[in-house]
């Protein structure tokens, strides 16, 4: 999906591989990647006994870049609800999406263990409790995100899908030019 601002780029320009941030589909694509990086430790072998600090560090660097990029994207592209009002992307979309995926992963792990399916390499270490601990450790750094996750688990204890179940937003590009230099990242 070509980036909508890229019409003057050469066909050989690798930036054609960027997602279309002017559509909610493109936003979902990049945010699914951001969520995966946030929850990556739960999928990674180093959380269940394998020593691999280099790979762990690589994921940390990627997560840091993803957070900076997420902040940049949503300063530039605003989500509009069905009444064309700008919504807070974290409260209306990103945190609910991350919470939903985390809950689905908990449900997936629980279902797998109930059916006797164990991790192929870490059968003893990768228990449901161990996975839950890593997932929840990945979400506790922000109080509101943590609360959303707890609420999502209370309502839907065994969700069945990782796909976004919330409303579909329209995208509006913010006025003015925002570059990497004038973004103040908290």
């Amino acid at each position: 999906m070509p980036f909508f601002e890229s019409l003057d780029w050469s066909p050989d320009d690798p930036r054609w591989h960027l997602p279309d941030l002017a559509s909610f589909d493109g936003i979902l694509d990049v945010c699914s990647l951001f969520c995966l990086l946030e929850l990556g430790n739960a999928l990674a072998p180093w959380s269940y006994g394998e020593k691999n600090n280099a790979e762990r560090r690589r994921l940390m660097y990627a997560r840091k870049r993803a957070r900076i990029l997420r902040h940049w994207i949503f300063k530039r592209y605003k989500l509009l609800d069905k009444n064309n009002n700008i919504v807070d992307y974290k409260r209306a979309f990103y945190w609910p999406y991350l919470s939903q995926i985390a809950c689905a992963l908990v449900g997936y792990t629980r279902n797998a263990h109930l059916k006797g399916v164990e991790h192929r390499d870490f059968e003893k270490e990768c228990t449901e409790a161990a996975v839950l601990k890593v997932i929840e450790g990945s979400l506790q750094h922000h109080q509101e995100l943590w609360r959303m996750y707890c609420d999502a688990r209370a309502v839907d204890s065994l969700p069945v899908t990782f796909a976004w179940k919330g409303p579909w937003f329209q995208i509006q590009k913010a006025e003015g030019s925002l570059t990497g230099e004038n973004i103040i990242f908290p």
């Binding site: 694509d29 699914s32 995966l36 997560r63 390499d121």
Partner: protein, 87 residues
């Protein structure tokens, strides 16, 4: 990578697939790819960030990277909390 393909239009499905193959990766496909997949996804994030935001500020990045490096194997929960605050 081993005949497996990472593409922006299918990125969402790739991510969902990684969750689904978390426990039974080699039962579903012919190899275990999680480690390499994270490497490729890390590169994709770096590509997106550099392409959209311009070149990275080396000073800011190295400063933050140093702080993360000093954390070692995450033995100090207080340090981990501080890093979250930085990010």
């Amino acid at each position: 990578m081993g005949g497996h393909y990472f593409s922006t239009p299918t990125l969402r499905d790739t991510c969902y697939g990684m969750y689904h193959s978390f426990l039974v990766g080699r039962l579903l496909t012919n190899d275990e790819h999680n480690k390499h997949a994270f490497m490729f996804l890390a590169r994709i994030v770096a590509f997106y960030k550099t392409s959209l935001m311009g070149s990275e500020d080396p000073e800011a990045i190295s400063s933050c990277d140093e702080k993360i490096d000093k954390m070692g194997a995450f033995s100090n929960a207080t340090t981990a909390t501080n890093i979250y605050a930085i990010l």
